[in-house]
Symmetry: C2
Subunit: 311 residues, 2 copies
Amino acid sequence: MLDAPSPAPPPRLGSLTGRARVLHADESTLADQLPGADVLLVWDFLSHAVRRAWPGEGPRPAWVHTASAGVDHLMCPELADSDAVVTNARGVFDEPIAEYVAALVLAMAKDLPRTLDLQRERTWLHRESRRITGTRACVVGSGPIGRAIARTLKALGIAPALVGRAPRTGVHGPEDLNRLLARADWVVCAAPLTDDTRGMFDVRRFGVMQPSAHFINVGRGQLVVEDDLAAALSKRWIAGAALDVFEREPLPADSPLWTAPGLIVSPHMSGDTVGWRDELGAQFVTLYGQWEEGRPLANVVDKKRGYVPGH
Amino acid sequence: MLDAPSPAPPPRLGSLTGRARVLHADESTLADQLPGADVLLVWDFLSHAVRRAWPGEGPRPAWVHTASAGVDHLMCPELADSDAVVTNARGVFDEPIAEYVAALVLAMAKDLPRTLDLQRERTWLHRESRRITGTRACVVGSGPIGRAIARTLKALGIAPALVGRAPRTGVHGPEDLNRLLARADWVVCAAPLTDDTRGMFDVRRFGVMQPSAHFINVGRGQLVVEDDLAAALSKRWIAGAALDVFEREPLPADSPLWTAPGLIVSPHMSGDTVGWRDELGAQFVTLYGQWEEGRPLANVVDKKRGYVPGH
């Protein structure tokens, strides 16, 4: 079993002692170690090492697990076409990300960034802020993360609409997207990154939103055309935005996004609450038990679609 | 009828045209105008003009309404001992303040102020943040504002305990306060300012809180001994705090609170959402209708206690 690549602290896999031989690989050693592994645990969701090493020579692991919700960083045609089973960390991030989105929505409604700016200037400036009760959200992405976001916003009195790949009960299809964007106070992107969704938030999407709308991305950076968002903010097409994910991570120090007007930049941390690494490790150990016993694995990703289908 | 004192824009009382003669007074004219008024509407909740003018010579209005939840700024022994009926803006601020408290709780849990600091420095620094689900809040003040805060926090998965002047169903009495403070992750002060509550959050209260606890005051500044809070933050007795109200408002530019470690300072705005002035005006007009018809007024304050009793 191979745990790769690991610049971050490796997970606690102590309970696999005697059950698996655990090797650690990094970007430089993964290609050599891949042929000898039955199972590959992908721990660093920022690395593209798997996508680079997988097409090489020799046998390949039969099972690949990624300690992340998205699989975009490891997927390549050779892996997608192979017999390897891919699983993800479905479930671990749902509620933490929903809380994070609620924090951003409330901070924007209550003008908290400006309050903190004024505090730094020792300036007392009373303003009116916005109610969130009675406002509308459009949550794009109808997987467990999007659904958790919708539940949490609803508990706060916000009316959420979910948009997914296809319409089903409680979920709108893509044909409703523009209509929902045009009436949303909050647009939240929690979609998986696939060929269908790449760059979906572009000048046309920002163009249909209300001038009072706020946009939040907790999915993947490539879902958003960053230049289009920066332009929409500069031109006041929308009132504000928050990005937790970016085309390039870490966001380069010279990126204009750091200072885009009305934009909150956070370092891909929306789902990472105290104990998250332990939880990811424990989830993998549970799946490993299913694997050992030859039972069907949970959280199996549809490799063509790029996410766990259903529900 | 007298609307006083009015540095802020006066309320929309157009529907009283033909029903009342409306005069406006400010700090300098109130004492002279008071004897001629049947009704006094107190619009500026920061002014102490009423407390100063009321003890003077001549007849006094039979009804005083304040467009605020607290009555501490207008109450004086002469008013308390008089036959004048005092009413307040009970109800207008409950839900807005509850949303504001939720915004502060989530911002603190998700380390948002630090995220904004790092953004200004163009620094990408991933951190773990805290879940709010499963944490505990102690809400001090069991009136409609405190109860709205408890409801909203509960909707977010936080377990709230309410503390009031006396124990009743769903409300703890003061004898439980220290025990509840010692186990709370979030301590929220939404109590009225009375002789019993003045300075209640002092070195002894901060001393029993957990080092991981956060304190929020949306009541009145005088409920907190500000020096004790600043010391508790400096010594890391508690992890953070947010004050929306202060002993002196506006907070003086040289106050050490502006830069106290882990403290969020906001300018008494927690309940003031877009449209709040219209809503306060409309509430007064409704009460005026009751007054005209000789019906019992709603929102009558117990002048000795300093708030609307019951419920």
